[in-house]
């Protein structure tokens, strides 16, 4: 058992207070921090990226987010998010996979987990990262507090990446806030037929930066080619690589792979090996997804 993480309050005029947030109009007066002000200062002294998106994310969105957050966290970028279901939770989970830096903002008190089903994730972020809120300890959630929380997430970030969101003012609120606050807006594309791809596609059409993976985000933060995302080190034989590529291009079930002209038996073995090496995961409905 790890000890309870330290807690602290941080005034807007404290030198530890996140500088980006302090300059913002309507900045919170006090931040309540699980994990302690020192840790928050350390985490926000490096570039920070907010990953936001729909609660009704597809498994493609979830896997992409995990991979993106993992790559960024491994490169020393702090992943900011909102601990909601869907994309936000996937972002934190991805960062935690590599024990990377991550900060989450609560709509109520920082010690009040919302949604309650994310207790385990809330605790783990408090242990290795920071859970932040402008609301006093133990405060419940108000109707307005989710949007107010979003403003803090965006305010702490240098860049906001929208992974999956409907094209709807509420869903795209983080992007709008980012524009108002002068933060870079970026988006991850999806399938054009998916409702949760409409939001990111609209942002991309309006000039948001295209994010295909951690490297695009690093290029945006540091300049092109300055910092390299750590490459995945999964040694694969050419035949396995080919199956992986086919899965990535949409032949995501055994039936589809077999229909695409692969030998069924070899494909079964290939899928099992890819899953065992961690290059693939089996999603819901028996479909395989490349691990982001």
């Amino acid at each position: 058992m790890s000890a309870e993480p330290s807690r602290g309050e941080l005034c807007r005029h404290d030198p530890c207070f996140p500088a980006a947030l302090a300059q913002m109009r309507g900045a919170p007066r006090v931040l309540y921090v699980v994990g302690g002000p020192e840790r928050l200062e350390r985490l926000l002294s490096q570039p920070a990226v907010a990953i936001v998106g729909s609660r009704k994310a597809t498994d493609y969105g979830m896997e992409t987010t995990r991979g993106l957050a993992r790559g960024l966290a491994a490169s020393g970028v702090t992943v900011l998010g909102a601990l909601a279901d869907g994309i936000a939770a996937a972002a934190h989970l991805g960062a935690l996979e590599v024990d990377g830096p991550t900060v989450t903002v609560m709509p109520g008190g920082a010690d009040v987990c919302s949604p309650a089903s994310r207790r385990a994730l809330h605790k783990r972020i408090g242990d290795v990262g920071c859970v932040v809120s402008e609301q006093p300890w133990g405060r419940g959630i108000r109707r307005w507090s989710h949007l107010a929380r979003t403003r803090i997430v965006v305010g702490m970030a240098q860049m906001v990446i929208v992974v999956e969101a409907e094209e709807h003012p509420t869903a795209l609120a983080p992007a709008r806030l980012a524009e108002v606050l002068g933060r870079a807006v970026a988006a991850v594309p999806g399938r054009v037929s998916s409702p949760v791809s409409q939001g990111p596609h609209a942002l991309l059409a309006a000039g948001a930066r295209l994010i295909r993976g951690p490297q695009d985000a690093l290029d945006a933060l540091y300049g092109v080619g300055v910092k390299q995302a750590p490459a995945k080190k999964i040694p694969l034989t050419p035949s396995l690589r080919e199956v992986l590529a086919q899965v990535g291009s949409g032949h995501d079930t055994l039936a589809k792979l077999a229909a695409a002209g692969n030998d069924a038996e070899e494909t079964i073995v290939a899928l099992a090996e890819l899953e065992l090496t961690g290059a693939l995961v089996r999603g819901d409905g028996g479909r395989y997804l490349p691990r982001g």
């Binding site: 609660r55 279901d85 996979e97 089903s117 037929s193 039936a255 899953e275 065992l276 409905g285 691990r291």
Partner: protein, 513 residues
């Protein structure tokens, strides 16, 4: 005067011998039945009286006392009529006592003296032989069923007069007794099934999963969007299962004869297929609603229990399936009675992949991650732990629907029987017949993993997400895949296929919640 007749009562699946004693003496005319008889037995009084008079015999207008011994066994059902009538006739000197002692009598009487068939004749016939009685007299409709018991005289009697003739040394009414066929070989199973696997188009993966499940008697779960053919596939499972062996057939016939769900007089050859509606209660599924009530799991003994729309079943009902799935029997204990019933069955369940049903169908599914988590939680735990194969049923494409079927039931059944024979030969010293029943020790002895298999298994263990039980399930299914192929060793490709069928969602440990 006193007379005794022999009959049997059925409680649950057990039989108990009952002696019907009738005493006739002077006094006011009266007919009393004592000895823990239920309503159906007490009503026999009026039936017996009418039947005796309408058959042209005399019903003594004296004080008649009938006792059903032993007095502590509850007696139920209308099958006592015949024994009561004969004991009355013997006590009043209308038939001789000597044959009554070594004939068991079982049947209901109609008011005109006709002998009506009762449920459970096969069980009664077995009990008659065990009790060492000479013959069993019963309705002609049940004579073939009772004739399945070897070394037992079965006498059919159409009416009370025929019974009297038999008890006075005459012949019974003619019927042709059924015979127990010797173990049914491969060639003789060419019979037609209304529901053939050849009706299924596309679904190559699901059909393969069905084949593997049938070959090793593994429990399986079919998951897929509505209308893709989950139920259709499950209903075709009995057609590819090996036929019942003769001892299994007797067991099944006995159970279904007692519950009255037998649809012919013949021996049941097909494995039972039970598909209770999802509103079933625990007592309905397991048994124990009343004395001697057997549940669906018992009716599915040696066959298939199909649970359609698995997520709609109440959780407590699914929890109750643990014991039968683990032990192949159910022990029912109620305040007044307890019983152990056989329930060795193959569980097949079907479910939608998510609450709306359209997960994996592109953008049609609008379930949130939380909905999915709830759905998964509902299925996981008690039951998913006992599912060996998870088959995903997909919507077949238009070209697949036009294409030739993957296989026919005949074809698949031959493969299944071949695999089962290999298993039975290997497991003959262990007291089980199919791979799904192998315990840890048997697994160790019979897996015969080759080098590539060992290496693959080690990789699975290193991933760290599959529990020990999950690994055992994986090994059992891999063994079945190898058996289907006729391979002595279990190698990498068999394990790989079994991995593809596993029910666990993730292999890789992801460390955080």
């Amino acid at each position: 005067m006193l007379a005794r007749a022999q009959t049997f009562t059925i409680e649950g699946l057990q039989t108990r011998q009952v002696t019907v004693e009738v005493d006739i003496r002077g006094g006011l005319p009266n007919f009393a039945i004592v000895g823990l008889a239920n309503a159906a037995v007490r009503e026999a009084r009026d039936r017996v009286q009418a039947a005796i008079l309408n058959s042209g015999y005399e019903f003594p207008a004296r004080r008649i006392t009938a006792n059903l011994a032993p007095g502590d066994v509850p007696k139920a059902g209308p099958g006592f009529d015949l024994a009561l009538a004969c004991a009355v006739l013997a006590a009043s000197g209308q038939i001789s006592n000597e044959r009554l002692a070594n004939h068991a009598l079982f049947g209901e009487l109609s008011l005109d003296g006709e002998v009506r068939p009762c449920h459970g004749s096969l069980a009664i016939a077995q009990a008659t032989r065990e009790a060492g009685l000479h013959a069993l007299v019963l309705a002609p409709q049940r004579a073939r069923e009772a004739g399945l018991v070897e070394d037992l005289g079965v006498v059919a009697a159409r009416c009370l007069q025929s019974v009297v003739r038999v008890l006075n040394g005459g012949p019974g009414d003619a019927v042709t007794p059924a015979s127990v066929p010797p173990r049914i070989g491969r060639g003789e199973m060419g019979e037609e099934w209304e529901q053939d696997l050849g009706d299924v188009r596309g679904q190559r993966q699901a059909v393969r999963a069905l084949l593997v499940a049938a070959a090793g008697a593994h429990n399986m779960l079919l998951s897929g969007p509505p209308g893709t053919g989950k139920t259709m596939l499950a209903q075709r499972l009995p057609s590819i299962l090996p036929p019942l062996s003769s001892s299994e057939a007797i067991e099944v016939t006995r159970i279904h004869s007692i519950t009255g769900s037998l649809d012919s007089e013949e021996l049941v050859r097909r494995r039972p297929f039970r598909s209770p509606h999802h509103s079933v209660t625990t007592a309905g599924l397991i048994g124990g609603a009343g004395r001697g009530w057997v549940g669906e799991v018992v009716l599915a003994h040696n066959g298939v229990l199909f649970l359609d729309e698995l997520s709609e079943f109440s959780r407590s009902v699914l929890e109750a399936l643990r014991q039968p799935l683990e032990d192949g029997r159910v022990a029912i204990v109620r305040a007044q009675h307890s019983a152990v019933y056989p329930a060795r069955l193959m569980l097949v369940a079907a479910t939608n992949p998510c609450p709306c049903g359209y997960l994996g169908e592109g953008e049609r599914c609008r379930c949130t991650e939380a909905d999915l988590a709830r759905h998964r939680r509902k299925l996981s735990g008690p039951l998913l732990d006992r599912i060996d194969l998870l088959a995903t049923v997909e919507r077949p494409s238009a070209s697949e629907l036009r294409a030739a079927p993957v296989t026919s039931s005949q074809n698949a059944r031959e493969q299944v029987i071949g695999a089962r024979e290999r298993q039975a030969a290997r497991l003959k010293d262990d007291g089980v017949t199919a791979n799904a029943q192998m315990d840890v020790h048997m697994l160790r002895r019979h897996m015969a993993l080759d080098a590539s298999g060992v290496q693959m298994l080690r990789k699975v263990q290193e991933c760290g997400e599959l529990s020990a039980r999950g690994q055992h399930r994986l090994l059992r299914v891999a063994r079945t895949v190898a058996d289907l192929e006729g391979s002595r060793h279990t190698s990498k490709r068999h394990l790989a296929e079994a991995l593809g069928w596993r029910a666990e969602v993730t292999l890789q440990s992801r460390r955080v919640a």
